[in-house]
């Protein structure tokens, strides 16, 4: 798609302007649209203060930050915080939980919305479809706290809904939250509950855009329904699948930690401590600013590299990419 766009565009005049002419040209354009720069000024200032200033503040990861002396005047100590982090016993636990929950989430969280969108797309009753879609989006708009509360209604020992079902079948009540082995499942499947409907919307929209001619041609060639799905629908939504997957792969280290923080207890910590919850606890609660900033920076760098790698891979293999 990118390639075509470039070919289709009229070739710009490549002759270099004389230096003074170019400067003059830029000046003229700036003057003509000066009000646009006034309009965009507030957002520029906002990003400068709340996005670029923190980027500059990241240097405390390499410093021994002292609140009294400020970011600039605190002494440099190099990679000490990073070394301490890599050598600590919880390092591998954090990595294991973060990557584990993320990968598990991707494994079910990428295919299920596609499947649901296919089911909506194939449904023959329009009214039922509209109603079903509206219901399926609803959990997406519930807050994390409320979702956490509802999860607890379902999984609490003895009187929770799940345990009522377990007991109805003659089983013993299970304390799901207290046992580390259930934690990943709770987090991932409650995410599916909240996100599968909303996630299907983008695929459904892509499917609605497929020309009926393609289905007719396939039909005339004798393709049955499954073959039409496989050979017409799926290839058409493949670019969408790739883009969504790249974005989620890039976020492997940024697992949705708000819910994890809510559901975390002392007994499930071995499965529930992820990088972001640790940064919050040691940084904000424990006031170890430099150390936590170092962990956060490590996270960002890895995320950034992952995104570039996955994107390059998708570009080579699937001819689709983010940029």
């Amino acid at each position: 798609m990118r390639q075509q766009a470039i070919v289709g565009r009229p070739q710009p005049d490549n002759r270099p302007l004389p230096k003074r002419g170019r400067l003059h040209e830029a000046k003229r354009k700036l003057k003509k649209n000066w009000m646009l720069y006034v309009i965009i000024f507030p957002p520029v200032v906002y990003f400068l203060i709340w996005h670029y200033w923190p980027l500059y503040g990241v240097q405390i990861a390499f410093k021994d930050f002292m609140p009294a002396r400020g970011i600039m005047a605190s002494p440099w100590i190099g990679f000490d915080h990073f070394e301490r982090y890599f050598n600590s016993f919880y390092f591998w636990r954090l990595i294991k939980n973060t990557v584990g929950i993320s990968l598990y989430g991707l494994l079910v969280g990428i295919p299920l919305p596609i499947l649901l969108a296919l089911m909506f797309h194939e449904l023959r009753f329009k009214r039922l479809r509209g109603l079903a879609q509206t219901i399926s989006y609803a959990p997406n708009f519930i807050s994390v706290v409320v979702a956490g509360g509802i999860i607890l209604f379902f999984i609490r020992p003895e009187t929770g809904v799940l345990n009522a079902i377990v007991k109805a079948f003659g089983g013993e009540s299970i304390n799901f939250l207290a046992e580390a082995k259930y934690f990943w499942h709770i987090v991932v499947w409650s995410d599916v509950w909240q996100g599968v409907g909303w996630g299907s919307l983008i695929y459904f929209a892509a499917m609605s855009g497929i020309s009926p001619d393609q289905y007719e041609a396939a039909y005339l060639d004798g393709a049955n329904k499954l073959q039409r799905i496989w050979n017409v629908t799926l290839p058409n939504i493949l670019p969408t699948i790739v883009i969504i997957s790249i974005l989620s792969m890039g976020n492997i280290l940024n697992v949705g930690f708000e819910k994890i923080l809510l559901l975390q207890t002392g007994t499930n910590a071995s499965a529930s401590e992820v990088i972001s919850t640790y940064v919050y606890k040691s940084g904000i609660q424990g006031a170890q600013y430099s150390f936590s900033a170092a962990i956060g920076l490590f996270n960002n760098v890895v995320t950034f590299i992952l995104l570039i790698l996955v994107n390059a891979f998708a570009r080579r293999v699937g001819n689709t990419s983010l940029w």
Binding site: W50, H51, S136, P139, I150, I284
Partner: protein, 299 residues
């Protein structure tokens, strides 16, 4: 999808299975929400002893009464409405200010500005540096810390810019220019009135985001009077703390019954906190498809 063709036996069977499975899936998605509604309207003790019900047991509104009698919840509700309205207003203004110039083809330096914004989507300083900067700006524990640090999202600005580019004819803006409108007047008098659908979608996205967030407040607020509803909810739903709540409704009853009443209050508080969304959601849902379609067309 093909509508008017003869379906083979296999096709018919597939359609039937698809319909059946889809109905089951939708019921599964809906059940947790339905359960909370049923439980909130039930006698707390009855639902506590037997949660598997499809209809409220001994309908009563005691749980709701307990919720409405609670001062913390009212305060939180009020605070959340304040943060959400002011926050969303700032969001929409800032997003428009960023999106409009970027949508103009003759905006010199467009790609540089785009890079300036988009870069922050992929690389950020992280929680700790942001915290220290808000601290340095003396924003901790103030009203503005709930609004300013999240003044706009790049993603939504990109959606809006794409909408401007694809849905507003360039000729319209050019002729307004010829008629003597300046850029600000074009934005205000021509572009914005034509952008109601996208503004509605963004109001919903931003508004829901403000209403639902708790972590930001957890990090930046300390005074209880300033807590948004979600922080109060967190205490009630997750940490099982009920300030003066149970004492008011329960005097001398056994422990398990007291537990049951607490659970009843939780159900009601979930419903009450979701009310604003339940009101806004149906009004906005007709814009969803449009909004997300635009979002998926990256520019």
């Amino acid at each position: 999808m093909l509508e008017n063709v003869k379906r083979t036996r296999l096709d018919q069977a597939l359609d039937a299975v698809n319909t059946a499975v889809l109905i089951i899936v939708i019921l599964l998605i809906a059940y947790p929400l339905l359960f909370v509604v049923i439980a909130s309207l039930s006698d707390p003790v009855a639902i506590y002893n037997d949660p598997l019900r499809l209809w409220p047991a001994k309908v009563n509104f005691e749980s709701y009464k307990a919720v409405f009698d609670n001062k913390d919840i009212w305060q939180g509700f009020f605070n959340s409405i304040l943060y959400t309205t002011i926050g969303t207003l700032v969001n929409i203004v800032m997003t428009t200010l960023a999106a409009y110039p970027l949508s103009r083809r003759d905006f010199y330096g467009k790609s540089a500005f785009t890079f300036y914004f988009v870069f922050t989507m992929f690389f950020s300083g992280g929680l700790i540096p942001s915290y220290l900067i808000n601290k340095q700006l003396h924003l901790l524990d103030t009203f503005w810390v709930m609004v300013l640090p999240m003044a706009m999202s790049v993603y939504n600005a990109v959606i809006m810019r794409t909408y401007f580019q694809t849905n507003i004819p360039q000729e319209l803006e050019e002729s307004a220019h010829v008629d003597g409108c300046n850029d600000f007047q074009i934005l205000y008098k021509i572009v914005l009135p034509l952008s109601v659908p996208i503004i509605a979608v963004l109001v919903l996205f931003y508004g829901v985001g403000h209403w639902n967030s708790y972590f930001h407040a957890l990090v930046y607020l300390q005074t209880r009077d300033q807590f948004p509803l979600q922080l109060i909810l967190r205490e009630i739903l997750v940490q099982n703390q009920f300030k003066d709540m149970v004492g008011a409704t329960m005097v001398d009853e056994r422990f398990s019954e007291r537990m049951a009443v607490m659970e009843g209050i939780k159900y009601a508080v979930v419903i009450v906190s979701s009310l604003p969304l339940l009101v806004i959601y149906p009004m906005m849902s007709r814009f969803f498809k449009k909004g997300i379609l635009i979002g998926s067309l990256k520019g």
